[in-house]
Symmetry: C2
Amino acid sequence: MPTPIKRTVFFISDGTGLTVEALGHSLLTQFEKVEFRQIRIPFLDSIDKAQDAVARINAQGEADGMRPIVFTTLIDAELAGIVHQADAFSMSYFETFLAPLENELGLKSSHTVGRSHGTADSSDYKNRIEAINYTLAHDDGITDRGLEEADVILVAVSRCGKTPTSLYLAMQFGLKAANFPLIPEDFDRGRLPGTLEKHRPKLFGLTIQPERLAQIREERRAASNYASLANCRYEIAEAEKMMRREGIRWLDSSTKSIEEISATILQELNLR
Amino acid sequence: MPTPIKRTVFFISDGTGLTVEALGHSLLTQFEKVEFRQIRIPFLDSIDKAQDAVARINAQGEADGMRPIVFTTLIDAELAGIVHQADAFSMSYFETFLAPLENELGLKSSHTVGRSHGTADSSDYKNRIEAINYTLAHDDGITDRGLEEADVILVAVSRCGKTPTSLYLAMQFGLKAANFPLIPEDFDRGRLPGTLEKHRPKLFGLTIQPERLAQIREERRAASNYASLANCRYEIAEAEKMMRREGIRWLDSSTKSIEEISATILQELNLR
């Protein structure tokens, strides 16, 4: 096997660096043959820190024998100028896009650092915290009180990803996401639990390939009927039959990330 | 008051669109005088959908009397080409950055769509799900079993943001984040709960301005001693004294977002 190409990548931001990292990451995944060592430098907000970053980038380049790749989102032009003096291949998100956008809008940007996540005193932030609390209190059918407040109610058999998806919807979008398990009693009765029926427009189903479900359940309760492939096939078939009959929209979570499942739900339920 | 400038912005992606939205949002927040109407079009993965998007953008432009602003991350060059025919001001993340990066790496990109979030069968994804389950099972001091597995243990008085921060660390970074409340008994005893002492290197504290804490607690339990400013001042002063004495790193969460708190914890504890 040939030695993989190795490159060091820095993500540098005056904020958390999460956005520039996500962005850079989506580009890097396009180069499968390269092994990227990724370093995030968040909260770069002073000349000292900018100079430290330059020293770190240059030292890394010498150690690697190859100049590092640097992605930045730095609003302060002076700090950006210092960081871009490093001996590196630099891609600057703000410098690239801000000027054309200023031009299009006919306005100068305010050059304010760190405004991209809502802070603790904003209403956006309060909504998120409230949504997280709601979602925790309405996980796995704990209670059917307050469902009229829910933005979405996920339904699925056990271990299809209801809880992580609900929490993501709350955390990322400030949505109140309840979730309910579909259990064999529901299938025997042949209809939705009464408490859910009146909230049908807010219901969204998750399903999964039975083989994958069996594997996930096996890790939790080995050699149980619960985890057996036959039982997983039965539960999934019944759940899909019920969702089809009740007109509940649903998706197969088998090969999807939490982000993809959540974005699909938003789109399908026309939320936000 | 002058009428605010209004512009419609589209975020278009072949994936969830979350990254391009975060990106665009960080630029848009630089223009406070403009009211942006933001529309996300995720999962654009066919010629039909690309043509629909063009129709939607053009219709919006006519309705607004002003061309929309379009941010895209579309890996497929044909789809990107169609979308960019719309009568809009377009900024294309991939087209702008991919070619220079190919050049630097001396490689062609694989042009594979939708690789930026780990999917359900990746080890990264399993780690995240496991971390979320761990964090839910170790919220608010529910149990002190299994703390040796924790990557980080947050400590704080009630209502400083322990739970949302723990969940974010698990969801975003796959970290096992436990959290423990600091309660008056701990202050009376004058030292950390014994169960936490042996995990000191993993401890991280949150604090908050007493005025802000009183306000948050008031919303939960109005007119209680728990929410009174005097009690909040006492608890915060004692908690900070304890953290200082025990050498626990901490931050003030008063004006920080969950993302900022989490990124700071990662940096301070040298995680990841």
